[in-house]
């Protein structure tokens, strides 16, 4: 028995008012979907939360037409300073309803309430607030005077940060003067649908934001719709590739935020306790369902043993369990399907001779769970060092020199993020220069901010989200 027990301190569910079923949000109204409704479940309990409509071809067309109408008649012609006010309103409402959003996100996604409450939802509000201020300052966005919005944006987002990804997509699109049709992920549609309610509360003109729920097919219909001007996708590299093929030869602008296999590089002179925290934050934050997760630990051989000892001790204090419990550090895997993928890929680690170590924690009987796990003795040739696991599984590799660290870090088709831990300033800058990745976290990891551009090199996609560069993805220069 531990001397000191933490409470189950569950956040109350009562703040969330779940309906039995949800429709599509098109032209300011909730409407039925033409497809086959599907269920969304709480991954921590397998309890069905609600039934959600599936958008079919006619629904997608209806949504795009509504967005086009709103773009032509209302949102496009509206002065930026007025658009800004709507976005500020949305930012404020999101902050006011933050607890409701946090609880709902945790229910639908399985992430710990600690994260939805302290990371996701505050960033969502911040994202709208930041972009709201841009709406009447587009002349300063770096594209010269009077940049133009693109039109109707088709946006498809993943299940790992359902509401945050919505904010990353919707806020800059609207600030720049576009209208949107957004498809949330099949397993996490609920916060997007609650966001529709926020749009109504803010009296956003109908059609400016449309939300069409569904699975992959609905997304395909949306991005291939001929009247869409801009496609923005966050998700897996294979789907991103398919979308790039789909829009080839069209006039559609495309930004893609895809997979990653980030190296988190720890030098012997690192601030060791913070580095261990950074490793933990890098791979176990959000159960490792993070495209920029530090899933490859590259540790200098001279301190490898020490770092691993410290890491294991730290991992032993991670609390896995009820995501609604405020003391939970590691929540549920988002779906049975994802759990299967993690298990399969981790099994290749065993098969290929890497040594597995998992944090000693009891997994709940119901729901989808995976204990925080590290593999040591991993080489670049292992599948677990090359493929994105998208789960709480860390591959540990070692290096001897900075050059070797760079070579291993860059030896991947991905290039989304990287971490560097050293107390030597000039080495940080040298590493940052050489790493082929869109975000480099030095002596920190997994930090996000609406003012900070985020996005990948190589097969991690193209375009940036966040900051001036993210805004520019929704604008074109006047010619």
């Amino acid at each position: 028995m531990p001397k000191f027990e933490y409470a189950p301190a569950p956040e109350s569910r009562s703040i969330v008012d779940l309906a039995a079923s949800y429709g599509l949000f098109i032209d300011g109204e909730f409407t039925d979907g033409g497809g086959t409704a599907f269920k969304t479940v709480n991954p921590a309990t397998e309890e069905v939360l609600a039934e959600v409509a599936e958008g079919n071809e006619a629904d997608v067309d209806r949504a795009v037409r509504a967005a086009r109408r709103a773009y032509d008649r209302v949102w496009g012609p509206m002065p930026g300073r007025e658009r800004a006010k709507y976005l500020f309103r949305i930012a404020r409402i999101l902050a006011e309803r933050s607890r409701e959003f946090a609880v709902l996100e945790t229910l639908d996604n399985g992430k710990p309430i600690k994260e939805s409450r302290d990371v996701d939802v505050p960033l969502v509000s911040q994202w709208f607030f930041y972009n709201a201020g841009w709406a009447d300052k587009l002349d300063h966005a770096g594209l010269g005077p009077n940049p133009r919005s693109l039109g109707v944006a088709a946006q498809v987002i993943p299940w790992n940060f359902p509401l945050l990804m919505l904010a990353w997509k919707v806020a800059p699109a609207l600030a720049a003067g576009n209208t949107v049709v957004l498809k949330p992920a099949e397993t996490t549609p609920l916060t997007a649908l609650l966001f529709a309610d926020v749009c109504r509360q803010a009296e956003l003109p109908p059609g400016v934001v449309n939300i069409v729920t569904g699975a992959g097919e609905t997304g395909r219909l949306l991005v291939s719709h001929p009247d869409v001007n801009k496609v923005a996708f966050t998700g897996s590299t294979p789907v991103g590739r398919e979308i790039a093929r789909t829009v080839a030869g069209s006039d559609k602008r495309l930004t893609l935020e895809l997979g990653g296999k980030a190296a988190n590089i720890v030098f012997e002179d690192a601030p060791m306790d913070q580095a261990v925290e950074g490793i933990v934050r890098g791979i176990f934050f959000n159960q490792g369902h993070v495209c920029c997760a530090g899933s490859r630990l590259l540790v200098q051989e001279s301190v490898a043993e020490e770092v691993l000892d410290r890491l294991k001790a730290r991992m032993s204090t991670l609390r896995l369990g009820d995501p609604l419990d405020k003391n939970t550090d590691v929540g549920a895997i988002n779906s049975a399907e994802q759990l299967g993928r993690i298990r399969d890929l981790a099994a290749t680690g065993d098969d290929e001779g890497a040594a597995r170590w998992s944090a000693p924690c009891e997994l709940p009987e119901r729901g989808y769970w995976y204990a925080p796990t590290i593999f040591t003795g991993v080489t670049q040739a292992h599948r677990i060092a090359r493929e994105e696991i998208f789960g709480p599984v860390l591959s540990v590799l070692t290096f001897r020199t900075p050059a070797e660290a760079i070579e291993k870090a860059n030896n991947t088709p991905y290039g989304l993020s990287a971490g560097v831990w050293t107390e030597k300033g000039s080495r940080i800058l040298s590493m940052a220069n050489q790493l082929r990745a869109g975000v480099v976290w030095a002596n920190t990891f997994n930090q996000f901010d609406p003012a900070s551009p985020f996005g990948g090199y190589k097969e991690s996609g193209y375009g940036r989200e966040g900051g001036r560069h993210g805004l520019a993805s929704y604008l074109e220069a006047s010619s």
């Binding site: 790039a244 080839a248 006039d251 940052a432 975000v439 930090q447 901010d449 560069h469 220069a477």
Partner: protein, 284 residues
Amino acid sequence: MSERVDVRKTYKLFIGGAFPRSESGRTYEVASSRGKFLANASKASRKDARDAVGAARKAFGGWSKRTPYNRGQILYRVAEVLEGRRDQLVAEVRAAEGVTERRATAIVDAAVDTWVWYAGWADKLSQVAGNANQVNGPFFNLTSPEPTGVVAIAAPQQSSLLGLVEVLAPVLLSGNTAVVVSSYERPLPAITLSEILSTSDVPGGVVNILTGDIAEVGPWLASHLDVNALDLTGVDDADVARDLEAEASVNLKRVLRPGTPTAQALTRITPFLEYKTVWHPIGV
């Protein structure tokens, strides 16, 4: 007495700073706009494209690591040499494009000026395209532009020199290396440019020029996993352009779609940049 017989030249490809023949051994006849035979050009093949990509990749590390000031100087030096070969270029543009001497002169002048304009961007790019970001926390946060890597370029078919400069210079200044497929019917100014590059300070492999048919070589470049970006500016056939763009998705190449190049514009530089954002805590 017979008239002097001119020395005809069989032009070769420009790969890795050298002038090899096409490994396929193929050549094709290049004629002036009036149909007069001008020269034989090598017709680049799949393997030539592969070699050119290899050379461009090899050169990327060194070229991208030079200081922007140094790249700017090297590129400016190219403009100096271009200016020195003005008469030859005017003659070639005249022959290729069938324009008056005056027009050809204006074109060559514009090409030199455009080259100078882009050369001057090298050490200003990060100040204009980068950003210091103020984030909501104790972090230093800086976004800087970086070159995307190896860029395959379909040069314009009609504008044989100016069009080429307008697509090539903006790619190079940021530190990218290039594999260019020149105008098929009007390749001679491109070949002269490669001779100029080889005698200037541009390191071998930074620019590789293939004469040949984009429809034949393009798919190999579009599908090549070690090419990072594809500039389709010079692809006139919409179906070919679509197929190349679709093929480029294999490794998520950055693609610039066909169109008339805008002379001297930042928007020609930015499609071939990556933005890297570096975070660091601020503490004592």
